[in-house]
């Protein structure tokens, strides 16, 4: 049996140590404490989120021969196909405020950023399963790490667009200064939707499988590759789509077109902030329950 010598006893035991109590009660029963914990964890997670993001980005690009090109290969391919189809008269799209190839290219790039943001929470949480089941660390770090990675990939896309745009003869207006707001909005809405899907997506793999199909379907309901329709049933549906104002406004500000959907843009962003707070709470409440049920 190990012995304790007299001189090993610690002289100065710090009087207040952080106290953690685990009970079966739901955190919602004490909302003030829950909000304090949420903010504390968010702050505590910054560093870890940064390290995780650096880890993932380094690993991703170290292994890929084409490296950074992957950031825009898919939108580029998409664009070329649509330009071809439209030019060959197979598809007829309406008038676009800027040359069609540019319209499609910027649209698909922005849509790719949105998709990135939506996929990030579920992807990060699933990838961290081995850690989640065994170690206690602020879970917000996964979400913030996802946001950092989305920003990085978005940055590459935006950089390419900014380099390209002056050469295309498009008048860059003052809207460009507002573009970071639009980018933030894309990421905000995407993250909120992604977090909404995560708890159930962890338990049932159906969600992870259905998501790419759903996103593809949604792309055709948003003015990404075609302009806003003037009338008819399509106009109503596309008009009601909450993703429409944010994608369209982002593109407008980027390409110097006057933004027409600012009302919708503000409403959607406000709803997204409320949604984000709600799903953040759900994510925190759900984590111990998910960890119990998922394979480690």
């Amino acid at each position: 049996m190990p012995t304790r010598l007299a001189q090993d006893r610690p002289e100065d035991v710090p009087p207040d140590l952080p106290l953690t109590v685990y009970t079966p009660d739901s955190s919602l029963a004490s909302p003030a404490k829950m909000i304090r914990d949420m903010l504390r964890d968010l702050l505590a997670s910054r560093e870890l989120a940064w390290r995780l993001a650096v880890r993932d980005i380094s690993a991703q690009y170290r292994q890929a021969a084409l490296g950074i090109l992957w950031a825009f290969i898919l939108p580029l391919a998409n664009t070329l196909i649509w330009i071809f189809l439209s030019g060959a008269g197979v598809i007829k799209v309406g008038e676009t405020p800027i040359p069609y190839p540019l319209y499609v290219f910027t649209g698909t790039m922005l849509w790719a950023i949105l998709m990135d943001a939506i996929n990030a929470p579920l992807r990060q949480t699933i990838a961290a399963k081995p850690m989640l089941a065994k170690l206690n660390f602020p879970r917000e770090a996964l979400l913030v790490s996802g946001i950092y990675q989305t920003l990085f990939n978005a940055g590459i896309k935006i950089a390419l667009l900014l380099v390209m745009l002056p050469f295309t003869g498009v008048d860059l207006g003052w809207g460009l200064l507002l573009f970071p707001i639009a980018l933030a909005s894309l990421i905000l809405v995407g993250t909120a939707i992604g977090m909404l899907l995560t708890p159930v997506g962890i338990l049932y793999t159906d969600i992870g499988r259905a998501l790419p199909l759903l996103m593809q379907f949604l792309m055709y309901l948003t003015p990404v590759i075609f302009p806003m329709p003037k009338g008819g049933a399509a106009a109503i549906v596309i008009g009601l789509n909450p993703l429409t104002p944010i994608v369209v406004t982002a593109r407008d500000w980027l390409t110097g077109v006057s933004a027409e959907h600012l009302m919708g843009f503000s409403v959607v962003n406000l709803l997204a902030v409320l949604l984000l707070l709600g799903v953040w709470i759900v994510y925190r409440l759900a984590m111990p329950i998910l960890i119990e049920r998922m394979s480690s």
């Binding site: 190990p2 610690p10 952080p18 953690t20 079966p24 390290r51 170690l135 338990l203 111990p288 960890i291």
Partner: protein, 406 residues
């Protein structure tokens, strides 16, 4: 709860579900009730297909104490650790943790195989909760502890599993927690590394409250100051470690691998232990005599035999032996094929207390052929006035003299 108590567990229970589909469905239901603000665990009853993984556990661990958590696989030890670590919620009761918690449970969490050892140290340290400043201060110390040398700058995917554990433990060794949770991480690595790990844990043990889960009883005996034996979710607390280990071994007493072997031409009538035949479990007090009687008929070729008796730990390690060759007594047979009775008597069996196993063997003294072999055929329950932790002890005389002239 006194100043020094760092871990307090009161009436904690946890239920699990057997079937996967039901488990996922219960997960959704639990999620729903959690969002509605209801208590986890409902009214304390089991839903269909559920069982208690942890059942009404209560204990305390103070600073400087180490609780050894032992039990069969599936007894609920890891579930308890996960609740202590805050990963899952209890269904009843309350767990209170004071201070910083360090868990040596998943070494190498957060490692990405593409990145180098050095890069992964930083990630892993961050996951374990070290701040940027702490990581910077301790980076060299971690690199030295791991003794990986040039491999530090190679991708982790080229490491062997032992090297990954080294790296993981090196990072974990930089933690300065108030509470330490250890889950069977000391099972791998070479002896040099394991010794280093023990030393690190020992140096922490005085300042921390430790909970240590292991199946390695000598390790438990080395580190723990008290123990809890878990089985089917229930826990029995022992203030002394050795009775706990004996109780653990007793769980496996019926699992001994009994092996009977008779050479062709040998007839065995009976083997009596202490005068009793057909009794597989034998109780005796330490220091008492042992008598073994074997009645057999051997083939004509056997003219002399060697008799032996072995005492084993439940794990199968031989701890003591009796052998006729050591006493220079030639056991000669003049009239072969007739029934003979072999008697073995030891005046005093100085065994430590607890569960042991007994084997009896008879060999042909000339050809060394095994004639009769009853391996682990009996379980011994050795009792005594006090617990004797050593497997075998020797009697000795003691005196304490005062007033000795120099």
């Amino acid at each position: 709860m006194s100043e020094d108590t760092l871990i307090a567990v009161e009436g904690v229970s946890k239920r699990f579900c057997r079937s996967l589909k039901k488990s996922l469905w219960y997960g959704i239901k639990d999620l729903g009730s959690e969002i509605r603000g209801r208590r986890h665990g409902g009214d304390g009853h089991l839903r269909p297909d559920e069982f208690w993984a942890v059942d009404d556990l209560s204990f305390e661990v103070k600073r400087g104490e180490c609780l050894g958590l032992i039990g069969r696989n599936g007894a609920g030890k890891t579930t308890l650790l996960r609740m202590l670590n805050g990963l899952i919620k209890p269904d009843a009761g309350r767990l209170t943790m004071r201070g910083r918690v360090g868990a040596l449970i998943a070494l190498g969490a957060g490692f990405n195989p593409i990145l180098t050892g050095r890069e992964n140290i930083v990630v892993n340290a961050s996951v374990l909760g070290l701040t940027r400043r702490e990581i910077n201060d301790k980076l060299e110390q971690i690199v030295d502890f791991s003794e990986l040398g040039d491999f530090m700058d190679m991708p982790v995917q080229s490491y062997s599993s032992g090297m990954t554990v080294r790296l993981g433990f090196a990072v974990a060794s930089a933690l300065e927690p108030d509470i330490l949770l250890l889950d069977e991480v000391l099972a791998v690595g070479d002896i040099g590394f394991r010794t280093k790990c023990y030393n690190r844990i020992h140096s922490l043990a005085n300042r921390t409250a430790v909970i240590f889960v292991s199946h390695n009883m000598p390790q438990i005996a080395r580190l723990s100051t008290k123990a809890m034996l878990m089985s089917s979710g229930r826990g029995e607390l022992f203030e002394d470690v050795f009775p706990a280990i004996e109780a653990y071994n007793a769980l496996f007493a019926h699992c001994r691998r009994t092996d009977w072997h008779l050479a062709p031409g040998v007839t065995l009538d009976y083997i009596k232990i202490n005068g009793r035949q057909d009794q597989e479990a034998i109780s005796l007090r330490t220091g008492e005599p042992l008598a073994v009687e074997v009645r057999m008929a051997l083939p004509a070729t056997v003219t002399a035999i060697e008799a032996q008796v072995s005492i084993l730990e439940p794990s199968g390690d031989v701890i003591a032996g009796i052998n006729s060759l050591l006493s220079d007594v030639p056991l000669a047979i003049s009239a072969p094929t007739k029934s003979v009775r072999l008697s073995i008597a030891s005046p005093s069996l100085n065994l430590g207390t607890g569960a042991k196993l007994l084997s009896v063997g008879v060999k042909d003294a000339n050809s060394r052929l095994v004639l009769i072999r009853a391996h682990s055929a009996w379980s011994l329950n050795v009792s005594g006035d006090r617990f004797i932790s050593a497997p075998v002890y020797f009697p000795a005389s003691f005196s304490l003299d005062e007033d000795i002239p120099c």
